[in-house]
């Protein structure tokens, strides 16, 4: 992380006193015991106690606090539910955390326009809960949906198992209200569909809290499909399961979800939840369909045929809601199940073109031998999003470092195969230093210039996403000549 600024840390009392004027009562936390709760997010290997935590309740307060921090050069780390798996909400020793927990209300549900207006710390699942009685739901379903916030979903452009058919957060939001680092409040989009001018909404989504603090989100809600049914297909090798996925797509079918688990993951899941997964197969392919009963029946029959030709050795179809949920229970329990068979695991999140799946798995298996660490694979096969879990033991000397190196090797492999470092967990702190594997200096430079548009002093969530800072200047005066060491006076972290 960037070296902490001792002068800023020295002014802590002054900052806290000033912030208390803006957010009175218990809205500013500065005692050590309470600050400890904010030390880390879902990436628990990294911890840092922040200077203070501010819990604003109104947009006006967010604006005042950001404006103040902008004037004082005080860094700000926005935080929702703190479930980031990439360290997106990791605090800074010389910065405050802006925790949005009090923005937890659903402001409006507008069925006529098929949308809901929510505050950023409403949880993902709460949106669906609220509209379910009227036959609606919110489509993106990251596995942390019970706790993760919509604001965090926007920051990470969260996906989930159903984004093959329904898209990620970016495809499911219509409008935002956001406070910029200088305190100005801006609205983009609304309840209408098309962008007025440049698609700012699309840019903000997935920007990992580097461009502004979102204070309100208009999400699309969809009608709940009439029926959902799933197929559970067994294969004698993972490659055939991958090939089956490609054939389903080639036949013009886009299921609601397609998930693959490898042998290690199947056995761990079965031992954990006992749902009756076949244990004599090398891979399980779980395919879900939704729609009218007629449509779903049609797809089940069609895909069963495709699977047979693709070499499926077992096939079960859900005939009740209970059975369908059972099929999913093992997949959804995959992470905790791995936690049972290994003291620690490190979950990766690269995406590759689907056709490279066999190649990727072979190489991951070779890397597993090379690093001497076991790996279990689950992945969103429909969109090539891999979640290899590297098993290690943090108590064993050097194991964590080995796991991290193994993880980095997997992500580098994803990029080499034409894919990307992260499909849904975000870059954060975790993959920051790998950004140069995927992007050239010019690519990153253009992204950093966009950062300058919103945050000219680099005060908002610094140390995340980008391996180096860029000094902001209008009009491109900072043009860099090829080969030169850029900004030698700017620290690299």
């Amino acid at each position: 992380m960037p070296a902490a600024d001792a002068a800023i840390i020295g002014r802590r009392k002054e900052f806290v006193a000033e912030l208390r004027k803006m957010v009175p009562g218990e809205g500013v936390i500065d005692d050590d015991a309470s600050l400890a709760a904010y030390e880390c997010d879902g990436l628990m290997a990294y911890r840092q106690r922040p200077l203070a935590v501010v819990l604003p309740e109104t947009v006006e307060q967010v604006s005042q606090v950001l404006g103040y921090c902008h004037r004082e050069g005080l860094k700000v780390v926005p935080r929702g539910s703190g479930t980031s798996l990439s360290g997106g909400a990791l605090p800074l020793a010389d910065g405050i955390v802006m925790a949005m927990g009090k923005f937890n209300k659903i402001l409006e549900v507008d069925y006529a326009n098929r949308c809901a207006v929510v505050q950023p710390c409403v949880t993902n699942a709460a949106v669906t809960e609220r509209v379910t009685s009227e036959g609606f739901y919110y489509a993106p379903d990251p596995s942390s949906q019970i706790i993760c916030s919509i604001g965090g979903n926007v920051a990470e452009n969260a996906g989930g198992v159903h984004c093959l058919k329904y898209g990620t957060t970016s495809n499911n939001i219509l409008g935002l209200q956001m406070v910029l680092m200088d305190g100005s409040v801006v609205r983009m989009g609304g309840k209408h569909l098309d962008a007025q001018s440049l698609d700012m909404l699309g840019l903000i989504c997935g920007s990992e809290g580097l461009l502004g603090v979102v204070t309100e989100i208009t999400v699309r809600v969809l009608r709940t499909p009439e029926t959902q049914r799933a197929l559970l297909l067994g294969f004698s090798d993972v490659e055939s399961a991958g090939a089956c996925v490609a054939k389903v797509i080639a036949e013009g079918v886009v299921p609601a979800a397609m998930e693959i688990m490898d042998r290690t993951a199947i056995h761990a899941a079965e031992a954990f939840v006992k749902v009756g997964y076949p244990l004599d197969v090398e891979a399980l392919l779980l395919i879900e369909f939704d729609g009218s009963p007629v449509e779903v029946d049609h797809f089940i029959a069609m895909v069963n045929e495709i699977a047979k030709k693709a070499g499926a050795v077992s096939s079960q179809q859900s005939n009740s809601e209970e059975e369908r949920k059972n099929f999913w229970a093992g997949r959804k329990a995959a992470f905790p199940a791995i936690g049972k068979i290994s003291p620690d695991y490190y979950c990766m999140d690269g995406t590759i073109p689907r056709s490279k799946l066999p190649q990727a798995l072979r190489k991951i298996s070779e890397l597993s031998d090379e690093f001497g660490l076991e790996v279990a694979n689950v992945f969103h096969a429909g969109d090539g999003n891999l979640h290899p879990m590297v098993l290690y033991n943090a108590d064993k000397d050097g194991d964590l470092e080995k796991a991290e190196q193994f993880g980095a090797a997997i992500l580098t492999l994803c990029v080499e195969l034409g894919g990307v470092l992260t499909g849904e967990h975000g870059v954060g702190v975790e993959k920051r230093d790998l950004m140069e594997v995927q992007f050239t200096e010019a690519d990153l430079d253009q992204q950093l210039r966009v950062k300058c548009v919103f945050d000219d002093q680099g005060l908002l969530n610094p140390g995340k996403v980008f391996p180096k800072l860029r000094r902001c200047a209008e009009g491109g005066k900072m043009h860099v000549h090829h080969g030169e060491l850029r900004f030698p006076d700017i620290e690299r972290y």
Partner: protein, 413 residues
Amino acid sequence: MGEVFRPKNSDEVSSAVKDALNMKASLELFGQGTRRSLGRPVKADASLDMSALTGVQMYEPEELVMVVAPGTPMREISQVLIEHNQQLAFEPPDYGPLWGLPADKGTVGGMIMTGRNGPRRLSAGGVRDYVLGVKGVNGFGELFVSGGRVVKNVTGFDLPKILTGSFGTLCAATEITLKLLPLPPEAATLVVSGLKDGQAVAAMTRVLTETSIPVSSAAHLPAEIAKLSRVDSISARQNSATLLRVEGFGPSVESGIQGLKKVFGSLSDMFVLDKAETQQLWKEVTNASFFIQTEKPIWKLSVPPSEAAAIMSKLGKGLTTQYFYDWAGGAIWIEAPASEDAGEAAIRGTLDSVVVGDGHATLIRASEEVRANIAPFHPLSPVLAAVEDRLRKQFDPQGMFNPGRMYGVRNAN
């Protein structure tokens, strides 16, 4: 018009931009130039003709992904996709005939950069949802890559989103990666005849909120528009037509249409269009072909669907009787009488008073003179306008690319 650069690859694009940078020259970017009627007329020192960067560079049907050079004709892309039963699901419109040009012209770069969406915006999303990656040359002359070729990608800022629909004001795109979807094998449309505007929007809303029928698009053609359709069963009735389209495999379409009929059970006047008629009719809706016969100004409004009928009722039939609704009311197409402001004051004034900041009106057709004098794109809030201005400077410091095409001309530095 001064010098014309016609680069053949990204390196040549970069050189051309660097030359222009050195000369402090502005550039008009175009492919075949068929979409010049959208936005303000550009007055630039030189031209950057992108039409020589052509070809489908990668197409993997099983991956639902395609990489194309920006100058590739849309016609070529459509042909390749149809051979594999695939499509660009957002139904890219062809406004050529609307502007007095031949149909089926234009390049994929122009399509992406002008960011217009067809009827399936309602269910499948817009252009922005299908552009996975863009390579381009910014106003520094630097080639940069953004996005990727996979759908699930949160690595770095999602620059393809702001490049899509940026009218060539941020960069000269040199390569575009598109997400594709299978072509639905069957399609049908339920037509309900004789509904008034308010009833029609309410009916479309009812279908979308009270049933789970996967309607892919929903539009309402008032009688004055319906009679201009080339689909006989629509024009012959001399009455309004509310259209609900269902697409997919045979059994899905059949059960969808049956479900829709049940919703409208008490209404007697309804009928079903088969696949061929459905394709013809929705092509007319996509391309707003009903307005081909005149040269009057055309606006497209994007609004919350529930406000659509109220906006039109407030605007009053005094301004025009030529309008229709798409996106279940979320889009309103209006042909305005020819006038100095092309009806801007009335249309934007009414829209702003009804939806208060939640919606906008874009000028789709007007003479060059009119487009030079009024804002083709709805004015932005001051904060957003300032952000956009800063953003453009960070891509194009000299204001070189298509100056003024979207909003006012910016002074270089």
